[in-house]
């Protein structure tokens, strides 16, 4: 394979230089998508909710949150809690990503072994968040009035502080916080969103089958109990 050449040119190979080569006409965008000259728009980020059904085992939350952080997904909130089945938990993520990013979040989560099923919820899904906020206690009537406007519940009231709980979708919580700002919010804690598919739709695709199986077991158990 070795050829002869000028010792000056010891470092390098032969062939047409870059400017002498043909060039392809196409191009991709930064997300690796071939650019169609007619539709050149880059997909814009949007806010969406991803629900993941996971095995309820130690470390699963760390694995999910670690994944989100190391792949630099833009996450708004992450909540976790058990389901009707004590062996499974539901993780609800609110993310703001472009379309390819959302698909990546789904697929990367799906790859985690303790993750059973992952689903992006449609825009009409039920979404709820809870906020607890604490304001000074010197204007109890006004605080009570604002709390009522947002269907809030007073959890604790004293001469120095009043604590209120408000539940709702993200927009309502944001508005309520704005409204309470006039009193000077001393402390605030938000849970992040939890969500569920609306109507006769299962939140993730395996849940119907799991529900049927669980009910089958219950039926069997109750039949056996009745026999006794």
């Amino acid at each position: 394979m070795s050829g002869e050449s000028d010792p000056q040119q010891v470092n390098g190979l032969q062939g047409p230089a870059p400017e002498e080569r043909p060039h392809p006409s196409g191009r991709r965008n930064s997300q690796g998508i071939r650019i169609d000259p007619e539709v050149e728009a880059e997909p814009a980020p949007r806010r969406t909710v991803i629900s993941a059904l996971v095995e309820n085992e130690p470390g699963v939350l760390a694995k999910a949150s670690g994944l989100v952080s190391r792949r630099q997904f833009n996450i708004e909130s992450l909540t976790v809690g058990t389901t009707t089945n004590p062996e499974t938990s539901r993780i609800t993520l609110v993310i703001e990503e472009s379309e390819p990013g959302i698909r990546q979040v789904e697929k990367q989560l799906e790859k985690l072994l303790p993750v059973i099923s992952v689903q992006e919820l449609s825009s009409d899904a039920i979404r709820r968040e809870l906020v607890v906020l604490k304001v000074p206690g010197n204007e109890p009537d006004k605080v009570q009035a604002v709390a009522q406007m947002y269907d809030g519940t007073v959890l604790d009231a004293g001469p120095r502080t009043i604590s209120i709980e408000i539940t709702g979708d993200e927009g309502k919580i944001d508005d309520a916080i704005d409204a309470f700002q006039q009193f000077g919010i001393r402390e605030l804690a938000r849970t992040g969103q939890t969500a569920m598919a609306r109507g006769d739709v299962w939140t993730t695709d395996v849940e119907e089958e799991r529900y049927e199986r669980m009910h089958e077991d219950w039926r069997k158990q109750s039949t056996t109990a009745n026999d006794d």
Binding site: S2, S5, R27, G32, L67, K107, E110, L113
Partner: protein
């Protein structure tokens, strides 16, 4: 390739309750299980493990004690990183998970580089780490580290063993998960109370959990769409990735490519997936790929990518990567589809199965004689002919009167000479750096599982421990290790292991007294400011080898090359050749980081 298929991962038919994959193996039961530790070892025996690599230490001692009664061969490495790399290479060469053991704390953290390496390259490997007793966990006990926390991002999955009865099954599951679907490393962290605890429970066969269900066949509509696209292609290219080798699909790939006359480009981990002496072989694409491979990739109109993840070292800037190509992407991992390059057709499944599906679906071959001619022309236009100083190459009978400085030894020449002196089946391992690229470019790979390197992580020092793992996995094959002086110095203590185990491996150190790739980049991009890249203090590697008990050689001149290689290869045991190569030699072609593959530089002035 070994005659014996590496492992039989079969769907268990008896088990209708869930979709687990059970690994069929044959074992003889020896001593009954009495403790968690003996259950761990039994699980390895049941999984068919014959060899493991590791280093002893406090928290892993119960496991080592159980290993004392086992027929499993243990190779004590000089450092845990070496154990991880050896197990990784064992997994690459054999196709079944390599096993490494280490104690808690520093033992586990020393494994981390090797685990990350296996993770980036999707290599089957299982690491068993000792851990402080459960009651001490979280108290910053002696040699305690959060091993599952540390390794979560670099494993396919990991486990913290919680009781002596189930620990064997956990190890079995870790083994099964590692080798099934897209392979990857798994870790089982073993607290000392769990391994010391009493149990008589025999672990079952290794099986994956019911939530793990890797796909096999691709969606038939996608296959149809892919076949129609390929039939109509004018400039198609097959891009073979490491998944071709891991999926044992080299034969299917060759059949498919030759039947339709489609040129084959490989990624770096896929060296050997397609024979490089075949007329359709365009060899490696990417940063230091051949000019013709990069031209084919840049100008193709349809790309059939099989088992690759479109790493940035392959794509360069994604904006200019195969910009006119419709991408038909075959991968067993759905997350790889459209991760870096958007796929036009997603073929999610096992590489060999999907290639067969595609072949069945194809109704005619694409009509591409012009494209094939174009590829041949590019091969002629961009030959990998490195320049040897004219005094050397024009002189048929070189005289020894010339000083080494007059005829600096070209590293490419050394790689070719090593290739010539060894069998076609020889296994090549490398460290990371310029020497690794020359080994990619100038060795002719013909068979899968003959190329063992650190691709994704780029771990300097990988070569020697990998050569040990490869030789143990394939004792009948020649094993050649290319290293650089900088890279070799990172793990050269593993020579003590090669000598102790009398492993017949040949290490070729391409010594330019520098971390050459860094030096090359400094010359190209940092105005030649050689910050911390020159190694004027490099030891004499031949003498170093002899101090370890290996055979050492040093080569300065062209006319010593062939004879020395012959002597080193013939030596029955580990040998090291210190090749003093041209310190100015650089790797070309080169696509600068994030650059356009079609604009590869053939020399520094083109960068």
């Amino acid at each position: 390739m070994s005659e014996q298929p590496p492992a039989t991962f079969e769907e268990s038919e008896e088990d209708t309750a869930n979709d687990t994959v059970e690994i069929e193996t044959e074992t003889e039961i020896e001593t009954p299980v009495s403790t968690g530790a003996s259950s761990v070892i039994r699980a390895l025996e049941v999984a068919g493990v014959e060899t493991c690599f590791g280093v002893q230490g406090g928290a892993i001692m119960p496991v080592y004690d159980a290993l004392y009664d086992s027929s499993i061969r243990h190779i004590t490495m000089a450092h845990e990183q070496g154990a991880a790399h050896a197990a990784d290479a064992y997994g690459i060469v054999s196709g079944t998970p390599g096993v490494c053991l280490a104690t808690s704390g520093p033992g586990a953290t020393n494994l981390v580089t090797g685990i990350a390496d296996a993770s980036m390259d999707s290599d089957p490997m299982i690491a068993l780490t000792g851990q402080v007793p459960t009651a001490f966990v979280g108290n910053d006990a002696f040699q305690e580290t959060d091993t599952t926390g540390l390794t979560a991002p670099i494993t396919k999955t990991n486990y913290f063993a919680t009781d002596s009865d189930s620990v064997g099954d956990t190890v079995g599951e870790a083994f099964a998960v590692s080798g099934t679907g897209r392979p990857g490393p798994t870790v089982v962290d073993l607290p000392k109370d769990v391994t010391n605890g009493q149990t008589d429970r025999e672990p079952g066969k290794p099986r994956t959990p019911s939530t793990y269900d890797p796909p096999t066949e691709a969606d038939s509509e996608a296959v149809e769409q892919a076949a129609r696209t390929l039939e109509r292609a004018e400039k198609p290219v097959i891009l073979a990735g490491g998944g071709v080798i891991k999926g044992e699909a080299s034969e299917e790939l060759r059949e498919f490519a030759t039947e339709y006359d489609i040129p084959v480009v490989t990624t770096m981990p896929a060296l050997g997936a397609f024979p490089e002496d075949h007329e359709l072989a365009m060899e490696m694409a990417g940063m230091h790929g051949t000019g013709y491979a990069n031209m084919a990739v840049t100008h193709c109109d349809v790309m059939l990518a099989v088992g690759c993840r479109f790493d940035d070292r392959l794509t360069g800037g994604v904006e200019t990567f195969a910009p006119d190509a419709k991408l038909l992407h075959v991968d067993i991992d759905p997350a790889e589809i459209s991760k870096n390059i958007a796929a036009d057709v997603a073929l999610i499944g096992d590489a060999g199965t999907v290639l067969e599906q595609l072949e069945d679906e194809m109704e005619r071959a694409p009509d591409i004689p012009e494209w094939n001619d174009q590829c041949t022309t590019w091969k002629a236009e961009y030959p990998m002919d490195y320049a040897v100083p004219s005094e050397a190459s024009s002189d048929d009978s070189p005289t020894s009167s010339r000083t080494p400085q007059d005829r600096p030894l070209r590293p490419e020449f050394v790689v070719e000479a090593m290739d010539e002196a060894t069998s076609d089946e020889a296994i090549v391992t490398t460290g990371v750096g310029q020497h690794q690229m020359w080994a990619c470019q100038y060795w002719t790979y013909r068979h899968p599982r003959t190329w063992v390197s650190s691709h994704g992580l780029g771990t300097m020092g990988y070569g020697l421990p990998a050569a040990i793992g490869a030789k143990v996995a394939e004792p009948e094959k020649q094993v050649v290790c290319f290293e650089g002086d900088g890279s070799f110095l990172m793990t050269c203590q593993e020579l003590s292991v090669a000598v102790r185990e009398n492993l017949d491996i040949t290490v070729a150190v391409l010594n330019n007294a520098a971390v050459g790739m860094v030096r090359q980049w400094q010359d190209a991009f940092f105005e030649g400011r050689h910050s911390a890249s020159q190694y004027p203090w490099v030891p004499a590697f031949d003498k170093l080898a002899e101090a370890f008990g290996a055979q050492g050689f040093a080569v300065h001149e062209y006319d010593e090359v062939a004879d020395t290689i012959e002597a080193a290869v013939a030596y029955d045991g580990p040998s090291v050749i210190d090749f003093h190569i041209d310190p100015g030699a650089n790797v070309y072609p080169m696509v600068p980081s994030g650059g356009d593959n079609g604009q590869f530089a053939l020399s520094e002035d083109q960068l």
